[in-house]
């Protein structure tokens, strides 16, 4: 039950974000989870470290879009 829900929502989110990014999915795939920043198939550059996100937001003046999800 939970796995299904996770999948459905994850797919929805990825599709949604890809749509918002207005770009085609990157052929690059998923880089390693340990890197500070990853570019996912939805073409969004995800920071993987919360403190780093705060620092980048301060530096750039941008707001933070924070996603909590179960699996990388």
């Amino acid at each position: 039950m939970r796995v299904t829900a996770t999948l459905v929502v994850s797919i929805l989110a990825v599709l949604s974000l890809a749509g918002l990014a207005g770009q085609k999915p990157s052929p690059g795939g998923l880089p390693g989870a340990d890197s500070a920043e990853t570019q996912t198939r939805d073409s969004i550059k995800w920071v993987r470290n919360y403190s780093q996100a705060l620092a980048r937001a301060r530096q750039s003046g941008k707001p933070i879009f924070l996603e909590f999800r179960c699996k990388p």
């Binding site: 929502v9 933070i64 909590f68």
Partner: protein
Amino acid sequence: MSQFVCVRITTMAGIDINLFDFDRHNALYFFVLNADEQIYLRYGGRDSASATTYLNLKSLELALEQGLAAHEQWKASGRPKTKRPSPLYPREMDLLRRRTINRRRCVECHLIDDYRAQQLEIDGELNKLKTMYRSPDIKSLGIHLDVPRGLVVGEAKGAAATAGIRQGDRIVRIGEQPVLTFGDLQHYYDKTPRDAKRIQLTVVRTNAGDRQEKRARIDLELPHQWWRTDLDFRNWSIDPLVYYESRPLTKNEKSEHGLPANGFASQVTHVGSLAKRAGLHDLQVGDITYSVDGTQADEVADSTELFIKLRKDSGDRLKIGVIRDGKKLDIDLRTRRRTFRK
């Protein structure tokens, strides 16, 4: 998305769980905030039927626009600061630290609430009605949102209609708390005390023939057991475990079996494999369970399974009244405490 710093968090270790407080039974949850950790909005939330009832591209797009607008307001110093709650980190939760963090296991979102509930139960302080029935459904108020338009009411029925909420109204506050998204609304609706009789919603509406938007404060009378939801989707995280699933009998079915109409008789639909292996009980699929230690009815529970989860503790030994093949018998059942995955 280039207008945001996007951060993806997959483990709660190191996260202030009081600041990022949300119902951990959401597989995904989003926040928009600034570098001062002022949260503008939440995006997420669900109902019992589906994890995606309130999530779609349009509503996400709208939420992001609202987040950007709030950020501009903040940069112009036109947005009041909200008070930050006292920080709490997962390592400060004893059970979680010992069983998960010290074993270098992933601090999954759901573990936060699961361990918190278990600690409360061990300490004898668990309020099951609050903990089990998290994130009440606004549809119980008769509010059916036009989801792609965020907090715009698509249809008002029941308590909402009676109070004067109309189709097209946009909800902007619950009590004194401003809300921008369904995630905000559900989060703060959940904060309503379970014995509350009323809540106040503020809506923005445009009357016919009137160009200007108007605000209206509307008091809603909360229906009986307004907080009650179908617990199926969070069933696996509620103690005690009973290792069977059941469906409530209809009134007709109860009548056919000579059982009280207000009782919690239910039919077993699934039996967990551990039930037999661990000698917990001998229930079978198809059994009608109608009593627990002689009790047949409860103000909240509509099945024996739910009655045990609500009113009994882990490790209890119970006698279940059962009808099997038309004959009444008593079956011993022992409950267990979760051990958690991972």
